[in-house]
């Protein structure tokens, strides 16, 4: 490690977006959802993956740079796009297998990568409601590799989600996705939180790295999970943001960030 390569002044929220952005490769076609996924996508596009193509569900296909939109559709995200169509078209691309990478948020996630964007508690009489699938189910159902980004709390990370809005690997047994009619070689491959990063080993969420650079400990990570999480043999420290990453992140994401009213706010959902 060269002296001064890494930033020293950053938060767990910064690490989350930057770690998520690193999941995007230069050759990827990425379907990004609203909020943190969009921030990660725009950061990757502006930093290490300028060649990636970003797909926005309203019908936007972008190989060219664009400013971080307030939600997903703005004149800025539309203007000078390579293609503008509609939601049906871009989801056909995804369903037919032409989108390599999906990027989505979530309300709750469970041990086998199933995501709840719908309701906490009973669907008919919920303790808490989120706005629903939106494009989340489509991203998780269709894309080659799906990455989920969300703040980690014990109430969000469960053995089993209350409502399965976006199926991951169901109960974790092999072949479940294919059995119900989903394409092979799809499903969640990473979960990025403000405490840690996870991969999936044999379809089970597995702790891969801890944000130790922000002072997070393994015990803290485990305390914010509702099950005894599997830990990768090669568990590491999360690579901190580099000085260069932080510079681009501050300039292109933080400066442009406006919370769209009605979006899922950061922090834990109300109590179960």
């Amino acid at each position: 490690m060269t002296q001064g390569k890494y930033a020293t002044d950053y938060t767990t929220a910064d690490q989350m977006v930057i770690s998520a952005a690193r999941q995007i490769k230069n050759t990827d076609t990425v379907y990004v959802g609203v909020g943190l996924p969009m921030q990660a996508g725009v950061l990757a596009k502006n930093f290490h993956a300028p060649g990636c193509t970003i797909i926005i569900e309203n019908g936007i296909v972008r190989a060219s740079l664009f400013p971080l939109p307030r939600a997903t559709d703005t004149l800025g995200s539309q203007s000078y796009a390579e293609q503008l169509s509609g939601l049906f078209y871009v989801n056909c691309l995804a369903q037919a297998g032409y989108i390599t990478t999906g990027f989505m948020g979530g309300g709750q996630i469970d041990r086998y990568g199933n995501v709840n964007d719908t309701a906490v508690g009973d669907y008919r009489n919920p303790i808490h409601r989120w706005p629903g699938s939106g494009g989340g189910n489509d991203v998780m159902s269709f894309c080659g590799r799906t990455i989920v980004i969300l703040e980690q709390t014990k109430r969000r990370f469960l053995e089993k989600v209350d409502f399965n809005t976006c199926p991951g690997y169901f109960d974790g047994k092999p072949g479940r996705r294919e059995e119900i009619g989903l394409r092979p070689n799809t499903g969640p491959v990473a979960v990025i939180t403000d405490l840690a990063t996870y991969t999936f080993e044999n379809r089970e969420m597995t702790l891969k790295s801890v944000h130790t650079g922000c002072g997070i400990t393994l015990d803290q990570v485990k305390a914010e999970l509702s099950w005894d999480v599997k830990v990768a043999k090669d568990l590491t420290d999360t690579e901190p943001p580099t000085v260069e990453e932080m510079r681009v992140y501050q300039e292109k994401i933080v400066a442009a960030r406006v919370m769209p009213p009605g979006a899922r706010p950061p922090g834990p959902p109300p109590g179960r």
């Binding site: 004149l75 539309q78 939601l87 369903q95 409601r129 989340g136 119900i180 769209p260």
Partner: protein
Amino acid sequence: MSNKVMTMKEAVSKNVKSGDLLFVGGAQHGSPNAAVHEIVRQRIDHLTLIALLSNTGILIGEGLVDTLLTGYYQLDEKRSYGLQRARAKGKYPVVKEYSHFGIAQALYAGYMGVPFMPTKSQIGSDMPKYNDNIKTITCPFTGTKTGVIRAVVPDVGILHVQRCDAEGNAQRWGTLGVDHEGINASKKIIITTEKIVDGDVIRRDPNRTIIPGFRVNAVVEQPFGAYPVHLAGCYNDGPNTFGAMQDEEAWENNLKDAVTGVKDWNEYLENLKKINGADFLEKLKIKNPAMSEPVITGI
């Protein structure tokens, strides 16, 4: 001479009826807000609403919607004054939830005139347990399982466009959300347009026509008909595009400003200029238009 060109009041009263299944276009882009507010003004109720990321909360909060077909909506009653208001009126809608692609496919099936569409979306999720319009069947060709989504055929669809001729040949550009599927699936169609143009303008760029005139029932010229939502090539977002009206006072004020206290959308726009300055709307217009190369047709 066409008799399709009419006022918003006429277009809505002639084509939108109590009990209708209504499609509202404009997913986060160019939503037909002037038309939606006219429906509220005429208090057309018992609607079944299918819309995606459009500004339709006012229909729900005013108790005009019996059933809502949606993929994403602020359904947390604790955080939605509109839902609280609907509940207080005893008009909390029945909600049928899809994914966004599910909504698009339901409309696409309607547009195709077929009873359902196969899908790989939503299958295996918990959504079909609570939405009987999504099921799984065995594919008759491969024997594997496939999801199916029931067609939705709206009684009436409303779309706001940049330009349209007097016959209803309507052209829209920018992102299309579910506009193409939704408006083509609809039995009756209201087009609201920034500008009514000569038919020759349409015919020199016919690939841009999203719906042909013979399918359209009403054409309404309504500048800033999508305000406060942006419209490609025309104007940017106004203030408070999302998330306004989160308490009774704000809701009542908006209702008075945009619906009950004015005779139509033009009066509302004039009032906005009186309050915010004569150049208020002018300032929203795009500042750096990008001109395409001409599309050449002809013989």
